[in-house]
Amino acid sequence: MKGFFHNTWKHRAHVVMALPAFLVLLFIMYVPMSGLVLAFEKFDYSKGIFGSEWVGLANFEFLIKSKNTFLTMTRNTVLYYLLFTAVGTFLNIVVAISIDQLAFKRMAKTMQTLMIIPVFISYAAVQFIVFAFIDSRTGLINNTLGTNIRFYSKADYWPWILLIVKVWKDTGYGSVLYMSVLAGIDTSLYEAADIDGANKWQQIRHITVPSLIPMVTVMLLLSVGNVMRSDTGLFYQVTRNNGALYNTTQVIDSYILNQILKSSNFGYTAAASFFQSVVGLLLMLFANFTVRKIEPENALF
């Protein structure tokens, strides 16, 4: 113990340097965790978080009774997570390898520059762009096809629309992280494979892809804790928060945002929020545990 204090005093400069970010994390991330007790209360703004009436599990009961809303938004959240993660990871890797393999280096660079641009456009702006494509009267798609499809009132189309928007927005930037790994691969490996007569495909399969695995694992692990969280802008802005589409577009995060803006039913909202946080934590611990069993090197902690 004495050694610990001695060590901390010796490193006091490091304590001081870590302090500002420590305080921001404490006040912005840690203190709000106490707000999760709201899930067990009938929240009254005037009485505050710890003064409100305790109602036990009543909020959860209500949430489960309102089966449709809750089940639908949970299902949507999880399915979109799976869809986006699977398609996204695959495309990120394919694009990264393709650009890395291209012999036309300058062109590859320019194309990459263009691909990354969409990530810089906020969803508040993206929704105007999506509108230009899918509006029933003036939209580019309907005009080109000569049809009159009312995308904004047909929930069935939205999983595809959202997937396309997500791929459009995030793939270019997502591939950059993988490119940084590809740039670090020892080129002598390729040269040796070349001498041994391996063709391009074999080189990609046996050298490129395996070297990406640790990065893929880290990125997946980091994302698992967010299974219950979504890219709120995609679901709130791009759909124009359209009630007719909720069946396929309402996710937990957009539901909570709506409830806060309407400032109604904080109790049920808090229950949904609690559910979201706890499930995320459990999944993350489980995923990390599994990875550590199989490949301890790649585990996050």
Binding site: G3, H11, A13, H14, A18, P20, A21, F22, I28, M29, M33, S34, G35, L36, G48, I49, S98, I99, Q101, L102, A103, K105, A108, L114, I117, V119, F120, I121, S122, Y123, A124, A125, F128, I129, A132, R137, T138, N143, W168, V176, S180, G184, V218, M219, L222, G225, L257, Q259, I260, L261, T269, A270, S273, Q276, S277, L281, M284, L285, L300, F301
Partner: protein, 309 residues
């Protein structure tokens, strides 16, 4: 990657003759590039297309009638637009610089060997990624406990420190800055602060550039905190202005009680096609202009490693 390895790679690639496979690959990547860039191009074209033309013929990559109407109607926001620009620039600059400084100090501290608290600080950093209170708890704590409402701090602090960014900075310090260099500085009598500010920080530049640019983008594009917390006009950032424009269009479209005079003033149509696209340009242009200067740091500066030290 060392410079030698890079040169070797270039030679290795260009030594090959270009075959059919390369042409097919090029076409595929080109196709995907068009997929990514075309919608952005449509924004620019539509912003300078005639409002009535779009109204009658729809959005098009090749509109027949061009006009500056869209840009004119953006300028009509006048002072509010200028004010929103200032708010967004202020929040972006202050937030990014503050975040970079305190996150790199944190990353530096937890990567020191022999610093016993660094284990605890690493875990403290990691937990918010595993578990957090969510939007609602944040909203209630910020507004009722901290008493912050309609305050620019609510736009700055929530995006200031993120676990992911500290991990990126920490990985860069661990992988790309030789520990001997910092030890040597200490032996030569440089204090801890001096070592950090004069040795580590300058060497961290590629990572700071990449992380800083992504942070700046996140600040620039943040609409959610603004929607939740900002109420007064003089604190409204650009993204909230964009949302408000959308809301007022919807209001006008769904509301038949809008006086005829007001409708006539808008040319009998609600300016919603070229003018919204022009607004989008005004909002995204600054990032597009700055981005090419930072792109070179992207691959080098963004590497993610494990958090465990």
């Amino acid at each position: 990657m060392t410079v030698n390895a890079k040169q070797a790679k270039v030679r290795f690639n260009s030594g090959k003759k270009i075959g059919l496979g390369q042409i097919i690959l090029l076409l595929c990547v080109l196709l995907f590039t068009v997929f990514c860039a075309a919608p952005v191009l449509l924004v620019f074209i539509s912003a300078f297309a005639d409002e009535m033309y779009i109204n009658q013929h729809g959005f098009s990559f090749f509109p027949q009638v061009w006009s500056m109407n869209g840009m004119d109607s953006v300028l009509r926001y006048g002072n509010q637009l200028v004010q929103s620009y200032l708010v967004t620039i202020f929040v972006t600059v202050v937030g990014t610089l503050l975040g970079l400084l305190i996150m790199s100090m944190y990353a530096y501290s937890i990567s020191r060997h022999g610093f016993m608290l660094s284990k605890f600080l690493s875990v403290f950093l990691l937990i918010p990624m595993l578990f957090n209170g969510g939007q609602l708890a944040g909203y209630i704590v910020f507004t009722s406990w901290y008493g912050l409402k309609d305050n620019l701090l609510l736009l700055i602090l929530p995006l200031c420190v993120t676990t992911m960014n500290v991990i990126i900075l920490r990985t860069y310090i661990a992988n790309s800055i030789p520990g001997e260099l910092m030890e040597a500085a200490t032996i030569d009598g440089a204090g801890n602060y001096r070592t950090f500010f004069q040795i580590t920080l300058p060497l961290l530049k590629p990572s700071l550039a990449a992380v800083g640019f992504m942070m700046a983008t996140a600040y620039w594009n943040d609409w959610q905190n603004a929607l939740l917390y900002i109420t007064s006009n003089n604190k409204k950032p650009l993204q909230l202005l964009l949302i408000n424009i959308q809301k007022s269009i919807e209001f006008l479209l769904n509301n038949n009680n809008v006086p005829a005079a007001a409708r006539a003033a808008m040319g009998n149509t609600i300016p919603q096609y070229s003018s919204t696209m022009a607004t989008v340009i005004v909002v995204i242009a600054p990032i597009m202009v700055i981005y090419p200067f930072f792109q070179k740091y992207f691959v080098k500066g963004l590497t993610v490693g494990s958090v465990k030290g």
